[in-house]
């Protein structure tokens, strides 16, 4: 079920919340939690029942392994073996569904073999919930999950606001909330703030991201010659589309969860205001960066083994981050570019390099915008085509950016810059105590406008971009 669908907004979310609080009030919190798990599994199965067994088996296996790791009955060696088996289970599952075709295709083209593997459909959300479970197992090994019961664990994995595309929540910040008796009580303030965040997120997706999508397709999904102005419009539009799409999704997840008194971590903090690449990764998809830091970079050795080793670890972490997004060399290139940039930034900082803030912002944004081309393009030739057209300023088309055919795109991109550079984040906007009345009015209007726009034939319901990962 898509967050930006009438089924979710007008039926699923209000019904699930109403029954949850009624069960809490009149039956028991355990039954209410069971209801939430069932509703979440129904939410997951909306696209099809095929992968429902997969997520259920995965929950059972990981909870079993986690419980075993947390117990005091296993010898140290056995605990390591159980942890390795548990990690292998998750990695093999993810590897099979996400990377098997990629490996076979590349093996065939490199070694001239002709192995055949039917196209495997990626189960929804597997990249996200696999990361959560890996974190859970490692922390169970370190005995940081003692006392979790099965229901809380199942709810942590399946809780529908974060199930499909994050934020990649850590059990430590979610499971205790489910056990808090206050979470069982209907909290008007949380509902109001949740509705506000949800509505602004929906607006970002329906009214902003989907509007940019048209200009992105013009540049990336067409063949033939591309004018310089169209290439720039496509490239910048994608930077904005991805941001508003993904941060809109995250807002909707945070808002939905807050209605149930659950606080999800923020995932975006005005990333396009970043003045260096490290700053960018502290603001963009924060929960992924956090996971990669804690469960890839630090286990690789982090910065503990000298400068060169740190550079290598940073680079490898970003390669993993790139590959996590999908089984494609384009994501590897994208991750590699960010890895190199992070290393360069570290070297630059180490030797005291500085530049004016405006220039630093410009360099950072330009680099991020450039790398999104590789992230979005279907292959290297397509990326080269867009890049070559962007460089081809001598075609004179940039001078036509305010002509009648281009004016709309130019103004929209200008508006995009104004919002990403000067607007508050959604959470800041909706929690500003001084202006609660104003935020209620604005977010109510945002919800209504988005619901109306969703009824437009030309708009339709479009999936969130991060559903593909």
């Amino acid at each position: 079920m898509l967050f930006n669908s009438y089924e979710y907004l007008l039926l699923f979310l209000p019904t699930t919340a109403a029954i949850f609080f009624l069960l809490n009030r009149f039956v028991s919190t355990t039954v209410a939690k069971l209801w939430l798990v069932a509703a979440s599994l129904a939410f997951y199965s909306w696209w099809g029942l095929a992968y429902l067994p997969l997520i259920i088996i995965s929950i059972l296996v990981n909870y079993g392994v986690g419980t075993a790791l947390g117990s005091s009955y296993l010898a140290p060696f056995s605990r390591k073996a159980v942890l390795a088996a548990g990690l292998a289970f998750n990695i093999v599952l993810l590897g099979y569904f996400k990377y098997a075709n990629f490996v076979v295709d590349n093996t065939n083209s490199l070694a001239g073999t002709s192995f055949h593997l039917d196209r495997i459909v990626l189960p929804l959300a597997i990249s996200f919930f696999t990361f959560q479970k890996i974190a859970y197992l490692i922390d169970s090994y370190h005995r940081k999950t003692v006392g979790y019961n099965f229901l809380s664990y199942a709810l942590f994995v399946t809780f529908f606001p974060q199930l499909i595309a994050g934020p990649i929540v850590h059990h430590r910040e979610i499971v205790p909330q489910f056990s808090d008796p206050k979470a069982a009580l209907l909290h008007v303030g949380n509902i109001a703030t949740g509705l506000c965040i949800l509505s602004i997120g929906l607006f970002k997706k329906v009214m902003i991201a989907d509007t940019f999508a048209g200009y992105v397709s013009t540049g990336f999904d067409t063949e033939g010659a591309l004018q310089c102005v169209d290439a720039w419009a496509a490239s910048l539009s994608y930077s904005f589309q991805l941001y508003f799409d993904f941060s809109g999704y995250t807002d909707m997840a945070i808002g939905s969860a807050l209605i149930f008194n659950i606080r999800l971590p923020i995932n975006f903090n005005s990333p396009y205001q970043a003045t260096d690449i490290q700053d960018f990764w502290r603001r963009w998809h924060i929960t992924l960066s956090r996971f990669l830091r804690d469960y890839v970079y630090i286990p690789l050795g982090g910065n503990r083994s000298g400068e060169l080793s740190t550079y290598l670890n940073l680079f490898l972490t970003f390669l993993v981050g790139g590959l996590w997004h999908g089984a494609s060399w384009m994501f590897v290139i994208w991750g590699g570019m960010h890895g190199v940039a992070i290393v360069c930034h570290r070297v630059w900082s180490r030797y005291g390099g500085q530049m004016p803030a405006a220039l630093a912002w410009f360099v950072t944004f330009s680099f991020v915008n450039l790398t999104w081309i590789f992230f979005r393009a279907k292959d290297l030739n397509s990326a080269k085509r867009v890049l070559a057209s962007m460089i081809n300023v001598l075609d004179g088309s940039l001078l036509k950016m305010f002509d009648i055919q281009q004016r709309h795109a130019t103004l929209l991109i200008g508006l995009g810059f104004v919002i990403v550079l000067f607007a508050k984040t959604t959470v800041e906007f909706c929690t500003e105590a001084r202006n609660l009345e104003r935020t209620s009015v604005v977010s109510g209007a945002a919800l209504a406008i988005s619901l109306i726009a969703m009824s437009f034939v030309t708009a339709g319901v479009s999936e969130f971009l991060y559903f593909n990962f």
């Binding site: 008007v188 303030g189 509902i191 109001a192 509705l195 506000c196 509505s199 009214m207 509007t211 009648i404 709309h408 609660l436 009345e437 209620s440 009015v441 604005v442 977010s443 109510g444 209007a445 919800l447 209504a448 406008i449 619901l451 109306i452 726009a453 009824s455 437009f456 034939v457 030309t458 708009a459």
Partner: protein, 325 residues
């Protein structure tokens, strides 16, 4: 609780306001072919002021351009008013024009562009933009049509129409005086897409125009849609009920390597349309080859013929209209 109450009030108010804003913005400016507004005003003015039985021409621009109503009047002996407009307009728009002005004894001649026989009920963005701006005054806005157009709109268009000035246009007296003056001249010089290039019968009959898009075109692959057939059947029944008659005929086309009616292949494509219409009880008169012209007779697009070709077209149309009664 007051926060949630404010939130809900704001949402409900916006839900009411946005569609209301859209309805109020109908007829205001949007990027569209606004020149058609004055063109239709002059055409409809004439259609409304002819009292005796008349012939009404209805189609896209293949008959707005390259059609000589005066010559046809002389041949068939009854007044002609040319209501042809633009091939981007919906089939329903043309049908409504025909139904609105048909009176007992009238003959409706429709040299529809071949693409109309494959028409679908869906609205195009072009149609929405044009009908929501200049075309609003020519539409019969039933709640169903309003909802359909609203659902095919966008917020950009609502904002544009709400914020931007009303459609600029010339005074009605000036439009009528200009087309009357043009009637006395005959074939005109190019004054752009404007009533200034048109005569009072509704023809844009030009000697010359700057070429813009005279590219090869297949015009049709022979596909006919159930929707188009049903709408034309309904029009025919409606006209008969009101004592008028419908005559479908062929549009002007350009002979090119993708569509050449001297070739058997293209003849059979056209024949397939004719067969489908015949089965549906809709006859189409004349030989389509007599309305196909060489490239040099076309003005600025591959749809619009010049005055010289228009005379040949009227000759052929006059003959087959007489033959078909």
């Amino acid at each position: 609780m007051s926060q949630i109450s404010l939130f809900l009030k704001s949402a409900v108010l916006t839900t009411v306001l946005v569609p209301l804003l859209w309805v109020l913005s109908l007829g205001r400016y949007e990027r569209a072919e606004h020149w058609l507004s004055d063109v239709y005003f002059a055409k409809l003015y004439r259609a409304a002021h002819i009292t005796e039985p008349k012939t009404i021409i209805v189609s896209g621009s293949n008959s707005l351009f390259g059609f000589d109503s005066k010559t046809l009047e002389d041949k068939i002996g009854r007044p002609v008013v040319n209501l042809a407009g633009h091939a981007g307009l919906s089939l329903d728009f043309h049908i409504k024009m025909a139904e609105k002005f048909a009176k007992p004894g009238d003959l409706i001649v429709m040299p529809l562009e071949l693409s109309y026989y494959a028409a679908r009920p869906d609205l195009t963005a072009w149609q929405v933009a044009n009908m929501s701006s200049w075309g609003a005054k020519y539409m019969d806005w039933s709640p169903g049509i309003l909802l359909n157009f609203f659902r095919n709109s966008s917020f950009t268009s609502i904002l544009t129409r709400t914020l931007i000035r009303r459609i600029p246009g010339d005074a009605e007296s000036k439009v009528l005086a200009t087309v009357d003056a043009n009637t006395a001249i005959g074939a005109l010089d190019w004054h752009g897409y404007s009533y200034k290039s048109m005569n009072s019968r509704g023809d844009i009959l030009l000697k010359w125009a700057p070429p813009m898009a005279i590219a090869d075109q297949p015009y049709t692959y022979g596909f006919t849609s159930d929707f188009a057939i049903q709408r034309l059947q309904s029009l025919q029944a409606n006209l008969i009920e009101h004592g008028a008659m419908l005559r479908l005929t062929w549009p002007a086309t350009m002979r090119n390597r993708l569509f050449d009616l001297s070739r058997e292949k293209d003849q059979s494509i056209v024949q397939s349309i004719k067969d489908r219409l015949t089965v549906a009880g809709l006859s189409i008169i004349c030989d389509p080859q007599t309305f196909q012209f060489e490239r040099q007779f076309f003005l600025e697009t591959n749809m619009h013929i010049n005055a010289e070709a228009a005379e040949r077209r009227m000759e052929a149309l006059g003959v087959c209209m007489s033959d078909s009664g």
